[in-house]
């Protein structure tokens, strides 16, 4: 849990290079990556801003859902026949081709629904790093949220301002949105 004041350096939408430079400056001042968070109105990949790779378990959760869907499909197609075997002349009791359709649909349904669930789960999972928001992010601005650990001297904000940043302090005191 971050207790230090949260600062926001806001850059214009076309100042991607300056934002990347600002992150380098903060890092050189001793601010660790976990104390920096970038918010933006368009996806800016990690390699553009020189940030460590984010991770997500959405894919894994999706895969688990696909397996669950697959098993559910096997259960609903084979269990009724096991419970109530219906023998029809020259027809297999466990026909595979017709089962494949059901197995495919339920596997895909499991995959897709659990991918959405994965997004929900990760959204409500507490995240590390400084929290804060500015509605101008939705207008395309790039924001760098950061906190300065006590052992780091973060007073030299001039370098960020020189890059064109608009600085806001003590974001932790603000509500995210009204």
């Amino acid at each position: 849990m971050i207790t230090e004041p949260i600062h926001l350096a806001l850059f214009e939408e076309d100042q991607i290079n300056e934002a990347a430079e600002a992150i380098s400056i903060l890092r050189s001042q001793g601010v660790p990556d976990r104390n920096i968070s970038v918010i933006s109105g368009v996806p800016l990949s990690e390699h553009i801003l020189g940030r460590p790779m984010s991770w997500s378990r959405v894919g894994l959760i999706g895969l688990a859902g696909a397996v669950a869907g697959f098993l559910a499909a096997l259960a609903i197609t084979y269990l009724p026949v096991l419970i109530y075997p219906l023998n029809v002349g020259r027809m297999p009791v466990f026909p595979i081709p017709t089962t494949l359709v059901v197995v495919f649909e339920l596997t895909m349904l499991g995959l897709l629904i659990s991918t959405l669930l994965g997004v929900f789960v990760e959204t409500i999972t507490p995240s590390y790093g400084p929290h804060g928001y500015d509605p101008r992010i939705a207008h395309g601005k790039i924001g760098i949220l950061f906190t300065c650990p006590p052992e780091v001297d973060c007073e030299s904000y001039d370098q960020l301002v020189a890059l064109g940043a608009e600085l806001t302090h003590n974001l932790q005191e603000r509500k995210l949105w009204p």
Binding site: G41, E46, T99, V102, F104, V119
Partner: protein, 479 residues
């Protein structure tokens, strides 16, 4: 002299660049704030004409769809034109039509996303919305067709009082599963890329709207982790929803093809139906884009002739593919030599309802082939509107030919008959069309129809590159 030449070169370059900007949305960037404002303005502006349309369509839905359906339920399905030998009529034709229409959302959004076709960016959401509402319209038809709608739960597979366990592998269950899977996944696929735009709407609204957008935006702030997660989820969807899309219409075609009905028992029905669905769906996207461009404020900036041009090329290709599959299906069925099939094919072309068959060929082949090769026509939104309307009329005629016109002339000549749809069936079909338009109209004022962040992302990636003496558009890989 040298200075004059350089001045001329500079002026020509400026002209070239302004022409390119006018032509391509991706080369004509505006500040994000302005684009947000344009989309929000379109979303929150309602005129008396808008409310007149909403009222008119709501009335049609109430009377033609729910009123007539209620009357049919109370009176009995005998008021329709379906009777021996044709038990599948306008209801099933319209069901297949709507399921087909719904394919374009996935096609335009997912396939073009996978292949990184940049022109897709401003209209993916319009297409995805069409999928959801098209499916909602289509999904009503199994219930409507049932007649005794209060016994709908008989269709749900569950162990019944006679201890008979349901057959989970029957085509009815395939249909149920395929449509449910597609409806759920396409709705989620509509929702996921919408989250950043809902957050934008959240930040620009107050009151009830604000509270709804805030709830739907899931606390979106635009952090790296959120974008990463969203990208990953969208990618999973884009790849996974394509085979689901193919499976849905294949399964709809198998509703026909797994039987031994003459004219339906064809191995090519799966791909033939899919191509038809994509053709009708892409045509419907163009129709809707024309309406949006004409009716929604500021949409002329986002939807440009270049988009009609690109979709027109796709339509031409799919029209040719449809003709290829149609010819394959027709020729091989004919040379199979089965008397009943030959008779049906002859009747399609020469019988009392032959006009439907010719209408299908004129609308699906002649009109697109004669017009869409021409760049000027493809870039004319009004012309494209009429061409795409004609294609969908043709696709409806195709389904009509396949279903009631084929069922009316099966193997037993004593059991032949001509199907005449009743006013009630036609009314319900019109009612679902009105419902689709009404839902779209209401949604146009509830959610941002342009994915602004995707447009801005595209504009960031595009630039003009000087090659020799010309400036050419170039795209940078940002992901």
């Amino acid at each position: 002299m040298a200075a004059e030449t350089s001045y001329l070169t500079g002026a020509r370059a400026d002209l070239e660049q302004s022409e390119l900007a006018e032509e391509h949305l991706m080369l004509d960037p505006r500040p994000r704030e302005e684009m947000n404002q344009m989309v929000m303005e379109a979303m929150t502006t309602t005129t008396p004409v808008y409310w007149a349309w909403v009222g008119g369509l709501a009335l049609i839905v109430a009377v033609c769809l729910f009123g007539v359906w209620g009357y049919m339920t109370a009176t009995g399905i005998g008021i329709t034109g379906i009777r021996r030998p044709v038990f599948w009529g306008v209801f099933i034709v319209t069901f297949v039509f709507w399921i087909g229409i719904s394919h374009a959302g996935t096609f335009v959004s997912a396939i073009l996303r996978v292949f990184k076709a940049e022109f897709r960016r401003p209209f993916t959401r319009a297409a995805e919305l069409m999928t959801t509402f098209g499916l909602a319209g289509g999904a009503m038809y199994p219930l409507i067709h049932l007649g005794r709608v209060w016994t709908f739960y008989y269709m749900v597979p569950y162990p019944n009082a006679r201890w008979l366990w349901p057959n989970m592998r029957s085509p009815l269950v395939w249909d149920f599963l395929a449509i449910t899977t597609y409806l759920l996944s396409s709705t989620i696929y509509l929702y996921l890329p919408l989250i950043p735009d809902l957050a934008m709407a959240r930040d620009r609204t107050t009151g009830l709207r604000h509270r709804i957008y805030r709830l739907l935006a899931l606390g979106w702030r635009g952090t790296e982790a959120e974008w990463h997660r969203l990208r990953k989820a969208i990618n999973i969807f884009a790849f996974a929803i394509i085979p689901v899309m193919f499976s849905v219409h294949t399964i709809v075609s198998w509703d026909f093809a797994v039987g031994v009905v003459a004219g339906w028992h064809s191995t090519i029905f799966g791909p033939y139906f899919i191509i038809g669905a994509i053709l009708s769906g892409v045509a419907a996207v163009v129709t809707i884009l024309f309406v949006l461009r004409s009716a929604m404020r500021n949409f002329k900036y986002f939807i440009r002739p270049e988009h009609f041009d690109a979709l027109g090329k796709l339509l031409l290709v799919f029209s040719m593919a449809w003709a290829y599959f149609f010819f394959n299906e027709y020729l091989l069925s004919w040379y199979g030599g089965e008397e009943a099939v030959q008779r049906i094919l002859t009747l399609h072309a020469t019988g009392p309802s032959a006009w439907v068959w010719y209408l299908m060929l004129i609308c699906n082949v002649a009109i697109p082939w004669l017009t869409l090769w021409n760049r000027r026509i493809r870039r004319n939104p009004l012309a494209m509107f009429f061409i795409t309307l004609a294609i969908n009329v043709g696709m409806y005629a195709e389904r009509y030919t396949i279903i009631p016109l084929t069922l009316g002339h099966q193997r037993m000549p004593f059991d032949w008959g001509i199907y005449n749809p009743s006013i009630f069936e036609i009314s319900i079909a019109i009612g679902t069309m009105a419902m689709f338009c009404l839902l779209y109209l209401l949604a146009s004022r509830a959610i941002p129809l342009i994915p602004v962040w995707e447009v801005q992302e595209g504009q960031m990636a595009h630039s003009l590159k000087k090659v020799g003496k010309a400036h050419v558009p170039s795209v940078t890989e940002l992901e």
